[in-house]
Every structure is written in structure tokens, then in C-alpha cells.
């Protein structure tokens, strides 16, 4: 793969296809869009196959000094690879979801989606700070148009809110970036990730980046744009919004906030944890009382994203890996849930939960798919949701047991609102004639949902495929932030060393390797505790 600009190609293919879509008819535009997204999926698989796990940290590196002040510099590590895979995997599904649902201005619609895909890949591959910013911000324009043109009744308000909210967050980040480049003298992200900014400056820089990422994420209380945008966006818009665009916030934390400002990240750990804890509980409770399906799933997204931030700011391996897996799993599952809502919305044109009921009688296939994704969202073992949430909770427990306690209640609440949703939609009497008249899934819909099931199961049963590419990068990240890691309350306290050693020897025979690995890291931390 040496020298072959595969990343540029992955950005160029959807971009050119988007241009092509604009000048053709509706049916041609659909075909072009599907072909382009499949080509990108193929390129993505090629990328994954050729990604050398344990090789250089940055692979497929490209660089062209085209713009004077900043460069066309691309490259990926394992974390970016996985997020790119998520994007290229979801895109054909998005196009498929809109195949019949969108009849209005199809060429523009397809062009906007392809543009979003190109920009998302750009965000995850950019190795230049300003190139990243341009891709990061540029996504606003097509998303604004998607929500505003093809959205529901209140689409205009939602599109403004989405645009201005996220723009305000991002411009502050730009000022911070300018300052950083002035001080560090480079725009190269890998170099900046290793640059030590003075601790007092980190505080401000961290806050500026936080303003942007917390809105994109979204974290409570900056999440209010999300339910509006989701409810009004077309189905595919919601899928891509939940599936990939929300990941830009988490990606930002992993790529910028943590490695570039480790001290400030530690300093603000409680801010993030506090907001995340509130988010898990409050947004879950809000989700419980929603009468609109999309809004319910949107609030559940906010709660799931809180698990991401909890995991990331736990400052340990389980937390960060768990956060990544939650992001990937949430991308698949909530994307799939929005697609499920879209399926019945296309039939009845309402998202009111109360208008449905008894779907398991007349749409058994649909009920099975919906049940699977409901369970995956709850985090049933064997599905992707379990692995991510479990790991990030383990990480949280290691960092602080109270955080883990509060976050776990979120899981219970999550089960409550999802099961309650499922009961109201799929069970109960089939007493509404128009609901009873709804046909079951078509072949197209089944073929759209099946790959999502497969991916969610794969991630749930054998997460190693997804953990392996990112492991070296998480190690590198940990090496970078470890010096600032805040003390945790879940370390062994000096008590009766002899008894502890005996218990350790007998009780933990299995999984000893893991425990031994821990012991090494715990020693200095315990000593640290004594010093206090």
C-alpha cells in the first residue's frame, strides 16, 4: 500500500460522486450514491486488511503542502481506523434507508449525504490541526441542509439550532488552536500530541476544546440541540447523526483534549464526570417519559454518550477502550434503532408511540429485529452494547466507585425506557386498524438491518477484532496521560498484607495474568496513597 493515496481516494470518491449526483436524475443519483458508498466500503475494508496492527502508530500517511499555512496531511491510527470503518459501513445503509422514503429533491439529498461522508472521513484522517478544523466545521453545511430541506414539521428551528449551537462551540476551539500553533510552532497533530503546553494555559485550552466537543458529543446540559435535530431530520439523517457525527466529539476528546492537555484533563475530571453522571440519570429519566420514538432514542443517545465520557476520563485502559467500544456500538445500535423507527414511520407517518401497539402480531420479522436492537441498546451480554458499557464501567470503578455506582443506575434506567418503548410498540392488543394494515419488512429493509445485526453480534461475541487495532494507540495515550492521572479510590489499602497475598494466591487462580498486570501499576499508586 506504500505510496498509494487511499485516504485521499476515500475522500475524493464521495466528493466526486456528490458532484455527479447534482447533475443527474433522481434514479441515477440513487444508483451513483449507492455505488460510491459501496466503493468506499470496499476501500475501507482494504484499509482495515492492510492496517498493520502493532506497526507504526500513524499509517497510510500522506502529505502535500498545498495551502501554505497548513498542509493536506492525512494518516490514521487504530482509533481513527475504527471510526472510519463505522462511517463507511453505515453510509450504504443510510442511502438504502432513504431509497424510497425520500422522493423530494433526490439528487441534492444524495449529494449532501456523500458530502457528509467525505467530510467525516476527512475529520478522522486529518493530521493537520487546521485541516481537521475545516473538515470538522464543514460538516455543518450539508447537515444544515439535510435537516432543513428533508426534515419534519419543525425542521427550520431545528436546523438553526443545530447550526448555531455547534458553530458557537467550535469557534472558541479555533482560537485555542491558533494559540497552540503560535506557541508550538507546528500544525502537525502527532507533534502537538506530544507537546507539553504549560499547565495554566492548558486549563483555558482545554475549556475551549471542551466547548466544542461537549456540544458535538453532546454532553448534558449542551445536548438540547440533539433531540430537536434528530426528531426533525429524515431517518437517514438521524442514522448518520447518531452513528457518526456524535463520534466526532468523543474522537476529539481522545485525539486532542486528553493527549494534548493531560494536566487540565485531570483537573477537570470531576467536571466531566459530574456532567456525565447527571446526564446518565437525568436524560434516562427524560427518555422514560417521551411520547415520540425518535426523541426517546435521541435522549438515550445522550445517556450513552455519557458512558463514553465517563470511560475516557477514567484515565485507565478499560475506560478508554470501553469508551471507544461504546461509541462504535452506539453507532451501530442507535443507527439501527433510528432505522427501525424509520421503517414504521414510512408506513404510518407518525412517531407517536401511542399510535402503535401490537406490532409483533402483524410484523413479526420487524419485531425480532427491533427486539434485538432494543436488547443491544440495553447492553445484553452477547451484543455490542454489553462489552462497551461493561468495560467503561470497570474503568469508572477503578477511577471512582461513586461514578461507577451512579453510572450503573443508568443501565437499569436504560433497560426501563427501552423495554417500556418496546412493550408499547410491539406488544399489547393490535386494535388500531391502520396499524394492523401495515405490511411486514420488505426484502430491502431486511437486507439493510441484517448487516447491522451481524456487526452488533460480532462486536458482542468477539470484541477482540475491534480492540486489537486500537490497543497500541490506547497504550500510547495512557503513557501520555498517566503522569496526570488523578488518584483513584479503588486501590488496595494497606491492611493485612499477608492475608491479602494468601487470598490473592488461592482465589484468583484464573485470569492471573490480568491481575498480575494490574499489580504492577498498583504499586506506585498505593505508595502514593500512603504518602498522603
Amino acid at each position: 500500500m506504500n505510496g498509494f493515496p487511499i485516504l485521499t481516494l476515500m475522500i475524493a470518491v464521495p466528493l466526486l460522486a456528490a458532484l455527479g449526483c447534482l447533475f443527474t436524475s433522481a434514479s441515477n443519483a440513487r444508483v451513483i450514491a449507492l455505488l460510491a458508498t459501496f466503493v468506499n466500503l470496499a476501500l475501507g475494508i482494504l484499509l482495515w486488511v492492510n492496517f498493520d496492527i502493532g506497526g507504526a502508530q500513524w499509517q497510510f500517511v500522506e502529505r502535500a503542502d498545498l495551502f501554505g499555512r497548513f498542509a493536506w496531511a492525512l494518516g490514521i491510527d487504530g482509533i481513527a481506523l475504527l471510526l472510519i470503518m463505522l462511517s463507511v459501513f453505515l453510509m450504504p445503509i443510510c442511502i438504502g434507508v432513504s431509497w424510497e422514503a425520500v422522493q423530494k429533491r433526490v439528487p441534492e439529498y444524495m449529494a449532501a449525504f456523500l458530502l457528509v461522508e467525505a467530510l467525516m472521513i476527512g475529520v478522522f484522517t486529518a493530521q493537520d490541526l487546521f485541516l481537521f478544523y475545516i473538515f470538522f466545521e464543514a460538516g455543518l453545511i450539508p447537515m444544515y441542509l439535510i435537516i432543513g430541506i428533508w426534515g419534519g414539521a419543525d425542521r427550520i428551528y431545528a436546523s438553526y439550532k443545530f447550526f448555531l449551537y455547534t458553530l458557537l462551540g467550535s469557534v472558541l476551539m479555533l482560537i485555542a488552536m491558533l494559540w497552540m500553533v503560535n506557541v508550538a510552532g507546528t500544525t502537525d497533530i502527532p507533534t502537538l500530541m506530544a507537546y507539553d503546553f504549560p499547565a495554566e494555559a492548558q486549563t483555558w485550552l482545554w475549556l475551549a476544546f471542551f466547548a466544542s466537543f461537549a456540544v458535538k458529543m453532546p454532553m448534558w446540559p449542551f445536548h438540547t440541540w440533539l433531540p430537536d435535530a434528530h426528531v426533525q431530520a429524515p431517518t437517514a439523517g438521524s442514522v448518520i447523526l447518531a452513528g457518526v457525527l456524535l463520534k466526532m466529539g468523543g474522537y476529539g476528546f481522545i485525539r486532542f483534549s486528553l493527549p494534548m492537555f493531560p494536566e487540565a484533563s485531570a483537573q477537570f475530571m470531576w467536571l466531566v464526570m459530574g456532567l456525565s453522571m447527571i446526564a446518565v440519570v437525568v436524560t434516562s429519566l427524560i427518555a422514560l417519559v417521551q411520547s415520540d420514538m425518535k426523541k426517546l432514542i435521541a435522549y438515550s443517545s445522550v445517556a450513552h454518550m455519557a458512558f463514553v465520557t465517563i470511560g475516557l476520563f477514567a484515565f485507565n485502559r478499560q475506560g478508554i477502550e470501553g469508551a471507544m467500544l461504546v461509541m462504535l456500538s452506539h453507532g451501530l445500535v442507535s443507527g439501527a434503532l433510528f432505522a427501525c423507527v424509520g421503517v414504521i414511520y414510512d408506513r404510518l407517518h407518525t412517531r407517536e408511540i401511542a399510535r402503535y401497539g401490537g406490532l409483533s402480531d402483524n410484523m413479526p420479522k420487524y419485531a425480532i429485529f427491533f427486539l434485538f436492537f432494543t436488547m443491544a441498546s440495553i447492553g445484553l451480554p452477547g451484543t455490542s452494547g454489553f462489552v462497551g458499557e461493561f468495560l467503561s464501567l470497570v474503568g469508572a470503578y477503578e477511577a471512582n466507585s461513586w461514578v461507577a455506582f451512579v453510572a450503573t443506575t443508568g443501565i437499569i434506567l436504560g433497560a426501563a425506557y427501552m423495554l417500556y418503548l418496546y412493550r408499547r410498540v410491539a406488544y399489547g392488543p393490535l386494535d388500531k386498524p391502520d396499524v394492523a394494515a401495515m405490511p411486514d419488512l420488505s426484502l430491502r429493509e431486511i437486507s439493510l438491518l441484517t448487516p447491522l445485526v451481524a456487526a452488533a453480534l460480532w462486536m458482542g461475541v468477539y470484541p477482540e477484532s475491534f480492540l486489537a487495532p486500537m490497543r497500541p494507540d490506547v497504550t500510547a495515550l495512557l503513557a501520555r496521560i498517566e503522569r496526570a492521572a488523578p488518584p483513584s479510590d479503588a486501590q488496595p489499602t494497606p491492611g493485612n498484607p499477608a492475608a491479602a497475598a494468601a487470598a490473592h494466591g488461592s482465589g484468583h487462580g484464573s485470569g492471573h495474568g490480568e491481575a498480575a498486570g494490574h499489580g504492577e501499576t498498583e504499586q506506585p499508586a498505593a505508595a502514593h496513597g500512603e504518602a498522603h
Binding site: 498545498l66 501554505g68 499555512r69 432543513g148 438553526y160 458557537l168 472558541l172 491558533l178 503560535n182
Partner: protein, 479 residues
């Protein structure tokens, strides 16, 4: 220095002056029937003046004992001015043909105004500055009221004249104070004088000069005339006002601030910071309620001038280079927007100016809607459009100069501005179609729109190395 050498340095102005006088005679003898020919001849004169910049006039040093600077800063500003003036001449005949006869004076007046602007950006002396400014302004007053039978046009001309005269008076008063307290009108001598203790008289002079110039760039709080004049003047004239004189006045302000008052930067920096922030905020907030697209673009120009001033507040080479870069992209964006406004005609060929008439434009005229959307997003400074880059540069200069609070507040105000640009896009893309516009009948205008849209599209980023070098060279000429 011999007169001949000085004249060779001022070759662009010489060409423009001779050309405008000859064309004026032609207009007088041949009447309005020859307007098209005179227009193209005027464009040729502008092109010739631009080509003259390749010679000694481009970067040849001082002429007339320092009254006139022929440096790369002036050359860059002149190129922008000539382009903007040329476009304003090219698009005029079709516009006026629909709403009455185009008078042959139009291209001549624009040429005369260009002479004045050339003198402004090259001025090395307060009197050269003033003469240039007045030449530019007097031509502009007439241009604003060119459609004599239109009440709004007449009102615009009168308003522009009265308020412009007031500003000239303020400026002249400031100039007299500076002259009185420094003993010279030469920028170099003034710079030495203000380098020491700043007396009250000097300070007053400085403030009055800055205020007079702020009027010309329509920075808040001297912006009141802008919306009325922009709305009332014929659209090609508005396009001209929003582009060429803005560049000239901004370049002039930068030159005066750096060359003449550079050592007193502490004194004027606060003024510039205040007007910059006031302009971005007022330009953003006041535009929200507008229903007329030309008024909206007037507030947009106030808003943009505010951002450019942030570069001046930052000062230094980087700041000045950022200002010039800003004006370069701004000219393309604003000309492009006004060219789109020129396309807004109902099926009877009458000009319409309400924002509501743009409803659903993306379905009736997709190309035009896309171009206008590009200009709007670009004016809002949303990447990946090129309008982002000059904003980036001015904020970069401000951050590098340590003006962090200014940068933070300034960039936050850009979000206010984004709202009303979004509103235009919303009207064009989200709303149901209104009455259809007439189809475009001018391939030249279409081509110019496409060209400027291409310039502010992401492809513009490829020009950064070239434009960056040019603007930095221009800025270096002042230090």
C-alpha cells in the same frame, strides 16, 4: 527626482486620468448611444492601468518627493480596485437597459473615482490623501443618484453627499490639527513627531482623522449612511460602493495608521478595537431584521469591515497582511453577491430586492441559488469556503499579538452574523418557491458569478500560497 520619473511611477493614474478625459469628450460628442462602446473602452483603460503596475509603478519607490508611494501595498490595493471597478462597469449596461437608459457618464465617473482611489492608496501625504479621497467621493455622490427619476436613488445621493461632506470635514479638521502640531503633512515627518510625547492637540487630530476614515469604510459608529445608500443606489453602483471604495479606504486607513501614526499605535489601537467589535456586533444584530437584500448586504459589509479591522488592531506585518487578504476575498464575495442580486428580476424584467422573493430559488434557479449560498456561507466564514481563511488570518494575527479577549469576543460575534446569512440560505432552500425570476440573459454576468463562486469555493485554498506571498509583500512595504 525628475518630473518624468515621477510620472512614470504614477503611470496607472496618468492612464486613468487621460483615459477618462478622452472618454468624457467622446461621451459628450456621441451621446448616450455610445455607452456600450465607452464602457468597454473604460474597461480597457482599467486593464491598461493594471498592466502599468507591472512596470516601475508597481514597486518603484516614492514619486513627487514622497507625496506618492508606488509600493507593492498600493499595487495590490489598486489591482483589487481596478477589478472591482471593471466588473461594476461590465454589469451596468444590462441593468440600466432594463430600467431606462444608461448614461455615458457612468463608466467615466467610475474611472475618475478609480483615479481618486489610486491616489488614496498611494498617498504619502495628508493632502494627497485628501485630494484622492475627494475625487473618489465626488464621483461616487453622482453615481449614487444616477437614476434621477428614482426617488430612492436621489435620496441616496443626497444622503451620501451630506454625510460624506461631514466626514470630509471631520477628516480635514483632524488633518489640520496634525499639521498644526507636527508642522508637516508628510506621513514620515508626522510619524517622527507622534513618536514622542503625544500632546492633546495631536491626540485630537489623530482621533478626528481616524473618525473621518472610519466613515469611509463605514465602520460603526460612522456607518449610518451605508444601508440607505446601498439600498437606494442602482445595484451596479452599490456593487461598486461595496467593493472598490471599501478596499481603497481600508488600505488608506491601514497606511495612515501604520506609516503616519505607527509610533502612536497605543493611542489608536483602542479606537480600532472598539470600532471593530462595534461593527461586527452591530453589523450582525441589525442585519437580522432586514427584509431588503441590499440593506442586508450593507450590514454584511459593516460586519466584514469589523473583522478586517481586527487585523489592523493586531498590527504588525501579519495583521496588515491579514487585512489585505481579507479585502481580497471580501471583494470577490461581495461582488459575487451583488451580481446574484442583479439576477433578481421578475418576469417583466423589473428588479426585485426583497429577501422573500428568493423563496425556493433552489428549485427555480438551482445554479443561482447554489452560487448565492456559497457567497452567504463564505461571508459567514464557514469552512471549507474561502471566506473562512481571511477570518482565520485576522484572528491568527490577533492571537499572535496577544489580543486574546478581542479574538474571543470577535469570533463569538461571527456566530451572530452567521444567523442572517443562514436565513438567506433557508429562504432559498427550505421555503416553497415564490414567483419565478426571469431567466438570465447575460452570459457575461453568469460567467462572472461562476468565476467568483469558484474563487470562494474550497478550490480557493489552493491560492493561499500565492495570495499569502503577495499580501505579506504588500504589508512589508509599510514597515
Amino acid at each position: 527626482m525628475s518630473i518624468a520619473a515621477s510620472l512614470s511611477l504614477t503611470l496607472p493614474e496618468v492612464i486613468l486620468s487621460v483615459g477618462s478625459i478622452v472618454l468624457m469628450l467622446a461621451a459628450a460628442y456621441r451621446g448616450d448611444g455610445a455607452t456600450r462602446g465607452i464602457s468597454w473602452a473604460a474597461v480597457a483603460v482599467l486593464a491598461a492601468a493594471g498592466l502599468a503596475l507591472l512596470g516601475p509603478a508597481g514597486n518603484g519607490g516614492d514619486a513627487f518627493d514622497g507625496l506618492y508611494h508606488a509600493d507593492s501595498f498600493a499595487a495590490l490595493a489598486k489591482v483589487l480596485i481596478y477589478i472591482a471597478a471593471g466588473v461594476s462597469i461590465i454589469v451596468a449596461p444590462t441593468f440600466f437597459a432594463r430600467g431606462g437608459q444608461l448614461r455615458a457618464e457612468y463608466p467615466v465617473l467610475i474611472l475618475l473615482s478609480s483615479v481618486g482611489m489610486g491616489m488614496m492608496v498611494s498617498a504619502g501625504d495628508l493632502l494627497t490623501l485628501y485630494v484622492g479621497l475627494e475625487l473618489q467621493s465626488l464621483a461616487a455622490y453622482v453615481l449614487a443618484s444616477l437614476m434621477r427619476r428614482d426617488n430612492r436613488s436621489a435620496e441616496a445621493g443626497l444622503k451620501y453627499f451630506v454625510l460624506g461632506a461631514l466626514a470630509s470635514g471631520i477628516l480635514l479638521y483632524g488633518i489640520s490639527l496634525l499639521y498644526g502640531f507636527t508642522g508637516s503633512t508628510m506621513f514620515g515627518v508626522i510619524a517622527t513627531a507622534v513618536g514622542g510625547e503625544l500632546s492633546t492637540g495631536l491626540l485630537f487630530g489623530l482621533v478626528f482623522v481616524m473618525a473621518g476614515l472610519a466613515f469611509k469604510i463605514s465602520a460603526v459608529p460612522f456607518h449610518m449612511w451605508t444601508p440607505d445608500v446601498y439600498e437606494g443606489a442602482p445595484t451596479p453602483v452599490t456593487a461598486f460602493f461595496a467593493s472598490a471604495p471599501k478596499v481603497a479606504a481600508m488600505a488608506l486607513l491601514v497606511r495612515v495608521a501604520v506609516e503616519a501614526l505607527g509610533p502612536a499605535a497605543d493611542a489608536w489601537q483602542q479606537i480600532v478595537i472598539f470600532t471593530a467589535l462595534a461593527s461586527t456586533i452591530l453589523g450582525g444584530v441589525a442585519a437580522i431584521g432586514q427584509t431588503n437584500i441590499k440593506r442586508l448586504l450593507a450590514y454584511s459589509s459593516i460586519n466584514n469591515v469589523g473583522f478586517a479591522l481586527i487585523g489592523l488592531a493586531a498590527g504588525g506585518e501579519a495583521g496588515v497582511a491579514a487585512v489585505m487578504f481579507y479585502m481580497t476575498v471580501y471583494v470577490a464575495m461581495t461582488l459575487g453577491s451583488f451580481l446574484c442580486v442583479l439576477q433578481m428580476r421578475d418576469t417583466y424584467g423589473r428588479q426585485v430586492e426583497t429577501i422573500a422573493s428568493l423563496s425556493g430559488l433552489s428549485r427555480t434557479r438551482p445554479g443561482l441559488a447554489a452560487a448565492l449560498a456559497i457567497f452567504m456561507f463564505s461571508l459567514a466564514g464557514i469552512p471549507p469556503l474561502f471566506g473562512f481563511w481571511p477570518k482565520f488570518l485576522v484572528f491568527d494575527a490577533a492571537v499572535a499579538a496577544g489580543l486574546l479577549p478581542l479574538a474571543v469576543i470577535g469570533i463569538a460575534t461571527s456566530v451572530i452574523g452567521a444567523y442572517y446569512y443562514l436565513r438567506i440560505v433557508k429562504t432559498m432552500y427550505f421555503d416553497e418557491p415564490a414567483a419565478e425570476f426571469a431567466q438570465s440573459d447575460s452570459p457575461v454576468e453568469g460567467g462572472l458569478i461562476a468565476l467568483s463562486a469558484l474563487f470562494v469555493s474550497p478550490l480557493g485554498y489552493l491560492l493561499i500560497p500565492v495570495l499569502g506571498t503577495v499580501t505579506v509583500n504588500a504589508a512589508r512595504a509599510l514597515f
